[in-house]
Symmetry: C2
Subunit: 173 residues, 2 copies
């Protein structure tokens, strides 16, 4: 399979994951790696934000536990074992209220949550996937489609120089 | 002055603030209220994210100190004294790297930081502006244009029902 075809499959899978996650129920632990939602992840520190247009059409926040954020701030790679990175996403919706204040249509804010993904670093346990485990949850339940989750690492693989992590630390304004 | 005209002025001022902030230097404390950048604000918890299109063209994160986030999570209004809300913003730039992984142009990430704004609650000290002080900083320096900062509260005034705070808490995915 050519690289471009793989990337297309990954992009389609990402959309499919979101589309079908709502209709699924699963065990608490995610497949492939068996991780659960790290308690208190919403209290973690901000790494960055993003907007994915297209079919995903979301707003995102990327948070990290103390181990991950320390590594980011010190510019240390690879991330040490114990680092966890969380990617939260919400539907991308216009804000009438904000637009009214600005006097023009320009403001987009989080709508309904879509899902949360985690990357958990354990260089020995997950050596086959760059030292990272990957998981996705919606409404507190893990995505149960192991075949789709297997696409996570191949997608992150080109970012080997940054220890397979796409998101870069957004500097302080 | 009609309300629509006031809103236009506020929108223009917001753009002007960003445009001119880079060429200004000032004291450490912000005018009007004299506040400084709260130490460690980047460690605060995530309230929400946003994208402003148009002339602002930025990606934003809104963080809160413990007092603010507790009030948000418990749905308690008005915010208690001591609550501080921070709005960080960065230029809105496409990510070639992410687009390559997704196989299409869809990904937008933070570019250079633009500025950081704070709302600090002290119901007695700042009674004239709904109990809030407002400030904006760029590169660690406060915006020195008091006339422009005076537009903050009039813009927030329509949101009296939520204690003059636009941003709502983004629920956990």
């Amino acid at each position: 399979m050519k690289r471009s075809s793989i990337l297309q499959v990954i992009a389609m899978c990402a959309v499919a994951l979101i589309t079908f996650a709502a209709s699924r129920s699963g065990d608490e632990a995610a497949p492939l790696f068996g991780i659960k939602i790290p308690p208190g992840y919403r209290d973690w520190k901000l790494i960055s934000v993003a907007h994915e247009a297209g079919n995903l059409n979301d707003l995102r926040a990327v948070l990290g536990n103390d181990v991950a954020v320390k590594a980011y701030r010190e510019g240390k790679l690879p991330f040490p074992d114990g680092a966890i990175i969380a990617r939260l996403a919400w539907e991308y919706v216009p804000s009438e209220e904000n637009d009214k204040a600005f006097g023009r249509s320009q403001s987009f804010v989080p709508g309904a949550p879509t899902n949360v993904q985690f990357m958990v670093k354990d260089s020995k346990k997950y050596a086959a996937t760059g030292g990272w485990e990957f998981a996705q949850f919606k409404d507190g339940k893990p995505d149960a489609d192991a075949a789709l989750l297997k696409t996570c690492f191949p997608c992150h693989e080109p970012i080997k120089a940054r220890d397979y992590v796409f998101t870069q630390y957004a500097p302080n304004p």
